[in-house]
């Protein structure tokens, strides 16, 4: 019988984070599947707008829910960016899962959190906020791996009617992603010319 451990991890993490007053949204594998692209990825990632001085509260809330920080101190600041990584072993799962809490600091990230939409979890077990497909596409292009670029192309192809292209193209230009976006467009729609991004 399936354990759906990655869902158990996100459910438990989301509930723990609900006690923290902060905007938050899911951006990992759950977001991809919510926007019509399900693939094998164990990434359970939550983008959270929380000041650094409240990180201790966040860590305490997750620890109380059974999450174990992977590092000591829990907050890692890498190239000025904050990330807090936890492990969690849901009952019945073969392997533990990693929950990454990513601290949102840029205007783009803050906007993505404000624009996030609720999506129901399976089994009527509440809902989580999920970044919109255009923001997920930008997030994937910024991450920059081949697999992320493939994800971006699938998100673009599968969500054409849900994407605000005017906003997307503005953000793409602001983030310096125009070349990546052109390549992504041709992946998604090989027979269509790339839109004018100017």
């Amino acid at each position: 019988m399936a354990s759906e451990g990655v869902l158990a991890t996100l459910r438990a993490g989301w509930e723990a984070l609900d006690g923290i007053s902060a905007l938050k949204a899911v951006i990992g594998g759950l977001a991809l599947s919510a926007w019509n692209h399900a693939r094998y990825t164990r990434d359970a990632d939550v983008l959270v707008a929380i000041p650094v001085d409240q990180v201790d509260r966040l860590v305490a809330a997750l620890a109380a829910a059974g999450f174990h920080p992977r590092h000591s101190p829990p907050l890692r600041v890498i190239e000025t960016q904050g990330i807090i990584q936890f492990t969690f072993q849901p009952p019945g799962s073969l392997m533990p899962f990693q929950l990454d809490v990513l601290l949102a600091e840029t205007a783009f990230q803050q906007d993505a959190l404000v624009r996030a939409v609720p999506r129901p979890l399976p089994g009527d077990e509440g809902e989580v906020m999920v970044v919109r497909p255009d923001d997920l596409l930008v997030i994937k292009l910024l991450a920059g791996r081949i697999i992320d670029r493939a994800d971006a192309a699938m998100v673009l192809r599968e969500n054409r009617d849900s994407i605000d292209f005017d906003r997307l193209h503005r953000v793409i230009a602001e983030q310096g992603l125009s070349e990546d976006y052109r390549a992504t467009w041709l992946e998604a729609y090989p027979s269509e010319p790339v839109p004018d991004l100017s």
């Binding site: 594998g29 392997m95 840029t106």
Partner: protein, 93 residues
């Protein structure tokens, strides 16, 4: 190359060869599909370790190392995402 100088898909299947979309499923069912895909993938990986190693302790060690490698690979991508990029000269033109 396609006509008009456009490229063929390389990272994902071209539309005519792509697997069926899951857009017809409810949002909850799409998410459930992903969760069960993770379960199936994990089972393959775990069974692979069990065939390779004799004891449960060795299997658990292999699992821990595999998870560590995955984290080490994905963390820099997440940091790149968080940092964003500065606009480039002529970008968007």
């Amino acid at each position: 190359m396609y006509a008009h100088g456009m490229s063929r898909s390389q990272l994902i299947p071209a539309p005519e060869f792509a697997p069926p979309s899951i857009a017809h499923l409810s949002p909850a069912d799409r998410i459930l599909l992903w969760a069960r895909m993770v379960d199936e993938g994990d089972r393959f990986i775990y069974d692979g370790f069990r065939r390779r190693y004799a004891t449960e302790a060795e299997v658990q060690q292999a699992v821990a190392e595999w998870l560590e490698r995955r984290s080490a690979e994905s963390t820099p991508a997440k940091i790149r995402m968080l940092k964003g990029r500065r606009p480039q000269v002529h970008d968007g033109e």
